[in-house]
């Protein structure tokens, strides 16, 4: 009897999950994770550390939901409390499917053309650098290789950053400020005073 009502309750919660997840804005702060068995209790924190570094792009993207899986957990606050009273053993069974730590998440809108979805997904993945990272970790690279790779990446990054401000006015301003700085220095009197004025 308890099992049937439990099933009905959980299935009635699913439509609310799917409809709400589109509308609710993504909360950046972690809600208190539910009391899970100790094995999986590490997973909320792990996902944040794992996905925050590599999926920081997904935070910025306008489409992707950008929240860690805990956002789904926030849909069930009332459900969890009721469940823990009604049937404590199965109270947190719906948390079982929130275990995966993802690198990139793309929320699919309705009636999105497949090309657009693919393009968005590919762009997100490229920003997260998943495939690059995979290829790098396939085989071991010694210190030499690692140094080479890092210099290459740094050169690429610097070139991209130095190429950005190609605004001429900005460049002129920078030159002027540099000149002014040198002039200010010339006003300082570094010459020694005359002999008579020096105290002995």
């Amino acid at each position: 009897m308890a099992a049937s009502t439990l099933g009905g309750f959980i299935s009635s919660l699913f439509p609310s999950l799917t409809s709400k997840s589109q509308a609710k804005p993504s909360p950046p702060s972690l809600p208190i994770p539910p009391p899970q068995p100790p094995v999986s209790s590490d997973s909320p924190y792990l996902t944040l550390s794992a996905s925050s570094s590599s999926s920081s792009s997904s935070w910025r993207s306008s489409y992707s939901k950008a929240s860690v899986k805990e956002e789904d957990l926030m849909m069930f606050p009332a459900g969890r409390d009721v469940m823990s009273v009604v049937c404590p053993a199965m109270a947190h069974s719906n948390t079982l499917f929130f275990k995966s730590a993802y690198n990139v998440q793309v929320v699919v809108g309705e009636d999105e053309p497949e090309e657009a979805l693919l393009r968005r997904f590919r762009r997100e993945v490229m920003r997260a650098g998943v495939i690059q990272e995979c290829k790098r970790r396939r085989f071991f690279e010694n210190k030499q290789e690692e140094k080479k790779r890092k210099t290459r990446e740094a050169a690429k990054r610097n070139k991209r950053r130095s190429r950005r401000p190609f605004n001429k006015a900005l460049m002129m301003e920078k030159e002027e400020s540099a000149k002014k700085a040198s002039e200010v220095e010339d006003d300082d009197n570094w010459d020694l005073p005359e002999e008579g004025l020096l105290p002995n």
């Binding site: 699913f14 799917t18 997840s21 794992a50 590599s54 939901k65 079982l96 499917f97 995966s100 730590a101 993802y102 690198n103 990139v104 998440q105 793309v106 929320v107 699919v108 309705e110 497949e114 979805l117 693919l118 997904f121 590919r122 997100e124 993945v125 997260a128 998943v130 495939i131 990272e133 995979c134 290829k135 970790r137 396939r138 085989f139 071991f140 690279e141």
Partner: protein, 138 residues
């Protein structure tokens, strides 16, 4: 004394799926594991219990042709066909691994008419863990 009784009870809870052939799952998860040599598409329910699977190898491709995007497409199509008959409407997609099958499988899933809620990439990333094998000198 209490243990045999508890074991039977747990077995009944866990293995019920194999008794009913047509498990009606309206919402499921499609896992796509795309490696360089092969693509495996597994359809599970929300909790992760496998409903059906298919791979490029089982679709008749062998050798280097398993890793191609076309093979991934047929594998995805195969896997979804069995599940759509069981009445699955919504699905999440979890993609793992580098490989050419990623985009092709996603395209095939999209084309099959199943509503997608999320598309996630769950490629496992070590935080500098195990040492990978040595470089190939080909």
């Amino acid at each position: 004394m209490a243990q045999p009784r508890a074991r039977i009870g747990s077995r009944r809870n866990g293995r019920i799926g194999s008794r009913k052939n047509a498990r009606r799952i309206p919402k499921g998860v499609i896992h796509v594991q795309a490696s360089f040599n092969n693509t495996i598409v597994t359809v599970t329910d929300i909790r992760g219990r496998v409903v059906s699977w298919s791979s490029a190898g089982t679709c008749g491709f062998r050798g280097t042709r398993r890793g191609t995007p076309f093979a991934a497409q047929t594998a995805a199509g195969n896997a979804i066909r069995t599940v759509v008959d069981q009445g699955m409407q919504r699905a999440e997609v979890m993609i793992k691994g580098p490989g050419l099958g990623r985009d092709a499988a996603l395209r095939a899933i999209r084309r099959s008419g199943i509503l997608l809620s999320f598309v996630r990439d769950i490629t496992p990333m070590p935080h500098n863990g195990c040492r990978p094998p040595k470089k190939r000198r080909v």
